[in-house]
C-alpha cells in the first residue's frame, strides 16, 4: 500500500471495527497514537504516524489531513451534537483494502476496548501513560478537568451554607484542587526551555493559592474570581502546549524542520502570558484585600526563617 494511503486506511479501520462510533478528531488522533505506541518497534506503519504533543494530547498533521481527505471523499461525515461538539461518523462503507495484519489486529484491540461514552477517560489514560512530562497529566487531567467540573457544579449566584459550619474542611473539592496545583509545581520541567514558563506558573500558583483560601472562607459572590483563576489556568496550558512539542521527547523526527517556527510561537506566547499573569495577580490582590486571619504555625515560621537565611547567604 502506498505510504499516503496508510493513514486514511487506518482511520477507516477504526470504523470497520466499530461502525457505530461517533468520534471527535481528538479521539481519532489519540486512538491512532495508541495504535502506534502498541505496534512493534520495527512495524513500518509506525513511520506513517508521526505525532507531536499539543493542546489536546498527541496530534498528527498526517492524521489531520487524512481526516479532511476522507471527509472530502464522503467517507466520513461531520455531525454536531446538541452541545455544539463536532463528531465524525462513517458515511459510506469503505473499500476493503489488502491490510497489514499487525496494524489491523492492534486497531481492533484498541478500538474494542474503548468505551464510546467515556472517551475522555481514554484520552486521560494516554496522558498518564505516554505524556513526555509528569506535569502534563497532573495539570491537564488532575487539575484542569476537576477545576472545570467544580465550576460547572458551582454556577454563578449559588449560595452554600459552608460559612455557618465549623468543621475542619467543608470544601474538600477546593482543598483537592489547591493540593493538586502544588503537586503540579513540584513536577515542573527542569529544562531551560521552560524556565520562564515555570516562573509564570509559580506566580500563578501564588495567586491561585490566595483565591482558594478566599473562596474557602465563603463561596458566595466568588464566581468572577474563580472564573478568572480558571481562565488563567487555561492560558498557562496553551502556552505550555506550544513549548512541549519543541524538545525531542515532545515530537517525532518528522517534525524537526518545524522547530524554529515552534520556538518563535512559544516565545511569543510566553511574552503574551507574562502580562496576563501579572494582571491576574493584581486582580486577585484587589479582591482578596482582607484575607483569612489564619496564621502560620511555629513549624511554618521556622521553615520560612531557614529559607530567608538561605536567600541571604
Amino acid at each position: 500500500m502506498p505510504h499516503s494511503e496508510v493513514v486514511p486506511w487506518l482511520i477507516q479501520q477504526i470504523y470497520q471495527v466499530r461502525p457505530d462510533l461517533n468520534l471527535s478528531k481528538t479521539a481519532i488522533h489519540t486512538i491512532l497514537f495508541k495504535v502506534r505506541a502498541t505496534l512493534p518497534e520495527n512495524d513500518p506503519v509506525r513511520k506513517c504516524l508521526p505525532f507531536y504533543w499539543y493542546n489536546y494530547g498527541p496530534y498528527s498533521e498526517v492524521v489531520e489531513s487524512s481526516i479532511e481527505a476522507l471527509k472530502g471523499q464522503g467517507i466520513l461525515r461531520e455531525e454536531r451534537t446538541q452541545t455544539g461538539k463536532s463528531l465524525l461518523v462513517l458515511n459510506s462503507r469503505p473499500d476493503i483494502f489488502c491490510v497489514r495484519e499487525d496494524a489491523s489486529t492492534v486497531i481492533g484491540r484498541v478500538v474494542r476496548e474503548i468505551d464510546p461514552y467515556h472517551m475522555e477517560a481514554f484520552v486521560h489514560r494516554i496522558y498518564r501513560d505516554y505524556a513526555p512530562y509528569e506535569f502534563m497529566s497532573r495539570y491537564k487531567v488532575d487539575f484542569l478537568v476537576p477545576f472545570s467540573d467544580y465550576r460547572a457544579s458551582h454556577p454563578e449566584g449559588q449560595r452554600t451554607l459552608n460559612r455557618f459550619l465549623n468543621e475542619e474542611s467543608t470544601t474538600p473539592d477546593l482543598d483537592h484542587l489547591e493540593n493538586t496545583l502544588y503537586d503540579c509545581e513540584a513536577v515542573l520541567m527542569e529544562e531551560s526551555l521552560f524556565e520562564k514558563f515555570n516562573d509564570e506558573f509559580t506566580a500563578y500558583v501564588s495567586g491561585a493559592g490566595k483565591v482558594f483560601e478566599f473562596v474557602r472562607e465563603d463561596e458566595a459572590d466568588t464566581h468572577p474570581i474563580v472564573k478568572a483563576t480558571y481562565a488563567s489556568a487555561v492560558d498557562l496550558w496553551y502556552t505550555f502546549a506550544k513549548g512541549v512539542r519543541i524538545p525531542d521527547r515532545g515530537h517525532d523526527e518528522y517534525y524537526n524542520n518545524r522547530l524554529r517556527q515552534w520556538e518563535q510561537e512559544y516565545r511569543a506566547s510566553l511574552r503574551a502570558l507574562t502580562p496576563k499573569v501579572s494582571e491576574y495577580n493584581r486582580y486577585v490582590r484587589a479582591c482578596t484585600r482582607h484575607p483569612s486571619s489564619r496564621e502560620p504555625g511555629g513549624r511554618s515560621t521556622k521553615i520560612l526563617s531557614s529559607l530567608i537565611e538561605g536567600y541571604f547567604s
Binding site: Y182, E185, A186, V187, L188, E190, S192, N198, D199, T202, A203, V205, S206, G209, K210, E213, S278, N281, R285, T288, P291, S292, E295, P296, G297, R299, S300, T301, K302, I303, L304, S305, S306, L307, I308, E309, G310, Y311, F312, S313
Partner: protein
C-alpha cells in the same frame, strides 16, 4: 538624612520574619520609626517571585526525596542518606541562590525531614503543608505591608513605567554601565521616578545588596541627584553605619 525611604526587595524579604541570621538587620530596620517607606510594584513582584521560587524549590526537593528514599529507610543511616540525596539534588539546581536556600532549609529542618521520612503519609503531607503555609503566610504579610495606599506600612506605587528608555534614557544608560545589571537599574530608577513625580523630596534607597548597589552608591548618587543609597545598618542606633 532623608525621611522618605525606598525599600529594595531584600529589605522586604528580610523583614518578613524574625530570625537569627546575620541579616536580621532588615527586620530590625523595619522596627525603626520616623521614616515614610515607599516601594514600587516591580519590587513587590520581585518579592512574590522570590517567595514563589522558595516554595517551588522545596516542593520539588520533597518530591525528589519521596521518589528516592527507600520505602523503609534505616533510621541510623537516614541523616547520611538525606545528605547524599540533598547534594545530588543541589547539583541539579542551576542557580546558586536556590542551592543556598535548599541547603539552609535542610540544615534548619533536618529533624522534621527525618520524622517525615520515617513517618506516615499523613505526616509527610502535614510537613509539606507547613512549607506551603510558610510561603502563604509570607505572601499574606507582604500583601498586608505593601499596598497602593499612603497609609500602608510601605506605600507600594503602581505608577512607575515598565522601562525608562523614554523617561530617563541617559540616567538609565549610565546606571547600566555602573551596576552592570538591568533589573537593579530599573529598581533604582523607580526610586528616582517617585522622587521626581510623587515624593518631590530627597529619597533614601535602602538595600542590603552589596554586589550591585551599595558598592556603587557614590556613582548612583552622582547620576540620580536627590537619591541617597544606604544599607539598613545605617539606621540601627548604636550598631554603626
Amino acid at each position: 538624612m532623608a525621611s522618605h525611604h525606598f525599600l529594595d526587595a531584600n529589605i522586604l524579604i528580610g523583614s518578613l520574619t524574625e530570625w537569627d541570621g546575620q541579616h536580621s538587620r532588615a527586620h530590625r530596620y523595619m522596627q525603626q520609626e520616623g521614616f515614610r517607606r515607599h516601594t514600587s510594584e516591580r519590587v513587590y513582584r520581585e518579592c512574590t517571585g522570590v517567595l514563589g521560587r522558595f516554595r517551588r524549590t522545596i516542593l520539588q526537593y520533597l518530591k525528589y526525596l519521596e521518589q528516592n528514599l527507600p520505602a523503609h529507610p534505616d533510621p541510623l543511616a537516614l541523616d547520611r542518606t538525606i545528605d547524599r540525596l540533598t547534594e545530588r539534588r543541589m547539583r541539579a539546581l542551576s542557580s546558586n541562590r536556590e542551592q543556598s536556600v535548599l541547603r539552609s532549609f535542610v540544615r534548619g529542618n533536618m529533624e522534621d525531614l527525618r520524622n517525615a521520612a520515617l513517618g506516615t503519609e499523613e505526616e509527610r503531607r502535614a510537613f509539606r503543608r507547613d512549607v506551603i503555609d510558610a510561603i502563604k503566610g509570607a505572601l499574606k504579610s507582604l500583601d498586608g505591608d505593601c499596598r497602593d495606599d499612603p497609609s500602608a506600612r510601605v506605600f507600594c506605587y503602581t505608577c512607575c513605567p515598565d522601562d525608562y528608555d523614554v523617561h530617563f534614557p541617559e540616567q538609565k544608560s549610565s546606571l547600566i554601565d555602573a551596576l552592570q545589571y538591568e533589573p537593579d537599574t530599573l529598581v533604582v530608577l523607580d526610586s528616582y521616578f517617585l522622587l521626581v513625580h510623587r515624593i518631590r523630596e530627597e529619597v533614601c534607597f535602602v538595600t542590603a545588596d552589596n554586589a550591585h548597589i551599595l558598592r556603587n552608591h557614590d556613582r548612583i548618587e552622582e547620576i540620580l541627584p536627590g537619591i541617597i543609597v544606604r544599607g539598613p545598618d545605617s539606621f540601627l542606633a548604636g550598631e554603626g553605619g
